[in-house]
């Protein structure tokens, strides 16, 4: 029996789509239920599919988030449903964290119970999580995991759910229960080998380094860079007037520098008084670099080469591709090329939402990839 199966349907009728999914995941009359199903679908149909998948697979942990676009090795479409079923080679434990906008740490028992279920040996283990959008709590969730995992330091991989433009809500689900303000997680131990994590930046650093000198961490706002109004500094670096800065910010995010790593932080609002808000937190006196677009195809190739080098025998992959990237690829009409590169990662399911979580960092405008050996 296959270790994994990927099902995809873009049928407009949800019942038809569900049947196609079931047919694929329950192929050949095979009665062995998958241990875990990752799924994603568009915002409108998410609740329906969550419930029906859970009903169809009552003995399976079913976890998912709503996506801006549904991606899988079987196809992609903004209005579709896809599910990746894993039948063997994993041990799992899952849970839900609530109050994500202010106190996810309250649910540390839930996380601890999940770790205890996996057992003492946490080699080749990773925590996958999906968080609903617009709570501003991704960093708090990362902190909750960090504190709870303590010295165990299980890697974190996840995404913030997505929704179509103009909708300020999103969903995650676990075992048929849908939440619009929660984090659903599943800790997975890969008994067949390692779980390798990769990050892909489609931006490269410019020469403009800035230091945040007045911030509000709670509000993810920077008031000053280099002791000057933040918007002025960024506008001057880009050579544009401040009142036109908003036209340039989406393609010029900032990168938090950590050694050789750059974690992308996307601009949110440019305020008239010069403050800039972001989609992830910036600490005071963090060094940031203004970023500019890199060549997407070169970037994709670099990632693909890195994966090929590090993962000799990939089994399946999970992709989280930022909504902003998806939007950009669509505008540039290279989404098809991107999906083609993704197909190099074998069987995969892809999510596209408002953020990515990787190495306990909340990122924006990034693609992260988990490849299971």
């Amino acid at each position: 029996m296959d270790r994994t199966r990927i099902a995809f349907s873009d049928a407009k009728d949800t019942a038809v789509a569900m049947e196609e999914i079931k047919k694929t995941l329950q192929k050949d009359g095979d009665e062995k239920a998958p241990k875990l199903i990752f799924f994603t679908t568009d915002y409108l149909n998410f609740t329906w599919f969550s419930r029906h998948l859970a009903q169809a697979f009552p003995n399976t942990t079913v976890i998912g988030m709503s996506s801006y676009v549904v991606l899988s090795s079987k196809g992609y479409n903004p209005n579709a449903v896809t599910a990746l079923a894993i039948y063997s080679g994993i041990e799992i434990a899952s849970g839900i964290i609530l109050e994500i906008d202010r106190y996810p740490l309250r649910y540390k028992e839930t996380i601890r119970n999940a770790i205890d279920k996996i057992g003492e040996n946490l080699d080749n283990t990773c925590c996958f999580e999906f968080t609903t959008a617009f709570s501003g709590g991704e960093e708090l969730i990362m902190d909750a995991f960090k504190i709870t995992f303590a010295e165990k330091q299980i890697p974190i991989f996840g995404g913030t759910a997505g929704a179509p433009d103009g909708i300020n809500a999103s969903f995650v689900a676990l075992n048929g229960i849908v939440y619009n303000d929660a984090c659903a997680f599943v800790i997975i131990k890969n008994t067949h080998g390692k779980i390798r994590l990769f990050k892909e930046n489609m931006f490269k650093p410019t020469e403009h380094i800035m230091v945040a000198t007045d911030v509000d961490c709670d509000d993810r706002t920077v008031y000053e860079y280099n002791n000057r109004p933040a918007a002025e500094v960024v506008a001057a670096a880009l050579g544009v007037p401040v009142n036109k800065l908003f036209n340039y910010t989406s393609m010029h995010p900032v990168g938090r520098i950590d050694g050789d790593n750059i974690y992308i932080t996307e601009h949110n609002v440019v305020y008239p008084d010069g403050q800039l808000s972001y989609y992830s937190r910036i600490h005071n006196y963090s060094k940031l670099v203004l970023l500019e677009p890199d060549d997407p195809k070169e970037v994709w190739n670099r990632t693909a080469n890195a994966v090929k080098t590090k993962v000799v025998n990939p089994s399946f992959s999970i992709v989280v591709n930022c909504l902003s990237r998806t939007r950009y690829f669509n505008e540039q009409e290279i989404m098809g090329d991107f999906v083609e590169v993704l197909s190099e990662y074998g069987t995969y399911i892809g999510f596209s939402g408002y953020g990515e979580q990787y190495e306990y960092e909340h990122l924006n405008q990034t693609m992260i990839l988990a490849v299971f050996e």
Partner: protein, 859 residues
Amino acid sequence: MSRYNDGVITTNKNCIACNRCVASCPVVGTNVNGKTEGKNCIEVSGKKCIECGNCIRECSHGARDYRDDTLFFFKDLENGKKISVIIDPTFYMLYGKTAYKLIGYLRTIGVDKIYDVGIGAEISVWAHAKYLKEYKESETKPKAFITHICPAVANYAKKCNPEMLPYIIPVQTPAICTAIYVRKYLEDTNPIAYLGPCIAMTDETSSNETFKSILYNVTIAHLMDYLREIDFDRYYSKPDYKCETEGRLICSNGVFRRMVERYFPSTEVFTNFDHIDEKMIAPFCKQKGINEEWEQHPMLTEISACAMGCLMGGGIDAPGFNYNKVYERFAERSHNVYKQLEDSKDYKERYEELCAKFKSLNFFDFTREFSENYRQPYIVPQKAYEAIFERMHKDTQAKRNINCKFCGYPTCVEMAKAVASGYAKMENCIHYLNDELKSQVYIDMLTGLPNMARFIPEVEHLLSTHKDRSYVLGVCNINKVMVINRLYGRSVGDAVLVNFANYMREFIGDGGLCCRLGGGFFGFCYLNTSEKAKKLKETETYDYRHLGVDFPVTVRAGVYKTVPGDEVPVGKILDYCTYAMTKITDRSHNDFRYFDDAIHTEIILDSEITKQMKQSMADGEFVIYLQPQFNHASNKLVGAEVLSRWVKKDGTIISPAIFVPIFEKNGFVKELDRHVWKSAFILIKKWMDEGIPMVPISVNVSRMSLVDDEIIGIIHRFKDEYNIDTKYLHFEVTESAYMADQDAIIERVNRIRDMGFEIAMDDFGTGYSSLNVLKDMPLDILKLDMGFLRGDTNMDKGTKIIEYIIHMANTIGLKTIAEGVETNEQAEFLEQMGCDVIQGFLYSQPIPAAEYELLIKSL
């Protein structure tokens, strides 16, 4: 003001950011450093403030205000509203009999009924005791034990420590109990005002959890301020419901606990804290299984935010607080109350009495829920701490653990966390300011780069900790900085320097170092890589048109590559780089020159010559030689040029071609000139005295000797001292000396000429000659260099030029001497052209003075 100051307690413009509020506040992040109208201040985050009033008590600048409902209270009274007032026991303790006068006045302005909060205190005690006795603990809901008498403590739990909330006994405060009792049981339907010392009551009154029983929080301080013009002596009244029992004492910390204690066996533990301290509270609130150290807690713990309890509340009239009087009143009342309470009953009997007293009350009327609005604080990542500590110069563990609390935070780590979160500024740390000031000594103020004093030790450290690597060190200079300053102004020149400094920073990158040495000079050090080497060569010029500089700006650099294990001191390497840099003469594009063996040899020679020159001069190693000059036609000796030679004791002769350029660089050439002139004067004097037939001899004057008037004094002195016939001594000035400051030089040369000496222009034709020089200079002789006749190219042109120069010189009355004549053909030609005198190897090389003397003796 700005993005803070949005809660009950606010900062006003008296704030000078002294940090005392930060130190006194139990909640990190409540007091936030900011700026208002350019002035540093500390603002209050309403989200985090628990309204305990500690900061108001601490502030000695009157910089904290708070809002309450005093103005609304008086306005509504003025509008005819009937309001009932409940008065906190604190009021009576603070004002004694004056309190009744005030009550009398309040009645005259429309206050209807007046009640003592002591009544509600006793109800609250009963409710607390009942809860403790009757509550059945469950798995999910532990038994609470912390009193709820202080709204600030409840705020603290709600906003900062939600784990504490289940342990706060869910009973209303004495004030709220009073209001509920008044409304429900005494059926007073008037809106109720609470007169007391508590700022936190402002939010408490508007909370659904207190059923909005109290409409106005009137603090004592604001009330007394509002009524400061009133003479109360005319008024007097007592409350409608006065408390004469223990309830009137609860304004002091510990009394409430004592009141509840009476209903429990003495073996039970009752405690009280008079301030909020997380370290004290936390152990009690650990749930079983999480912290095994504490499985028990007291029966009851009374916690008040204010030391001494409500008597020191944030809303009291602090300047009017008279400790002695307050203590007297408290002692007197306490004595009276406890005298009445003395009995022989045991705790059970007392509890029965208490329950009987309040049997008509429904316990659940006086209970409440607590809602929570806690926000989990962020973990500040270690890299954020490191970034801040680095900026604060806290580069050792000791510096990170000073923990002086001057900044308001208990530890340096807490301070760094506050800085990372945006609550605090680094400038609050005096140690940072101290170190920053010290570091400014090592920073160039214009560019922000380190200066040399810091650069050298840092490079030394870098090289010593990476001995296996090769680094590139260099010194570079922006060409024509002075021209830029002159043409465009200093501000543009400075802008160029700043821009270049920024470029240097980025070019060098994180692993390297750079500094400003002064003027347009910069030093740098980076790891020797091929990318950097390529980048160094790539940039031809720098475009600063955006700064207003119209021409391309260029840089020249001297560069040194270290080898692994290189032991040359960094200061020396910079000297080498500077030396190498000076070799670059082309300023039209960026250029760099590596310090190599040839330059090294040159430096060594330079150094050796410079080391020896003074002593050698003193030892008489500098001797004069003379090169005879002849009239070719007559073959007669007609003169000689005096030249210096360095003849060392061991017989080695160092050519002037080696030492003269070095002396010109280090200024010793002036000494040499003086020595040669003196030697010439002495020689002529000797020959005159001995009656030896003489011909004129000429001495050279270097450029350096002509820069000031000292030369005039020296020659004058020699003339007076040796009293020679001036016609026998000529002074040769090189053509290039006239290029700078012509007027001053002309004037000096004229003065030498006026003394009677003839002047020759030496090396005419070697440089870029200016015919104006011939016109304006006081000259008698023109010495031609034979460069025109050397080489294989353009010989015809060269001979023509010589011809016309000689003709021109003759026409304007100048004698001509041709120097460097080596062949008879040259001599013949020159003679034909009318050149008067020939000097060169054709006739004689320079000879020692003794040999020359023999020559002229033979004339």
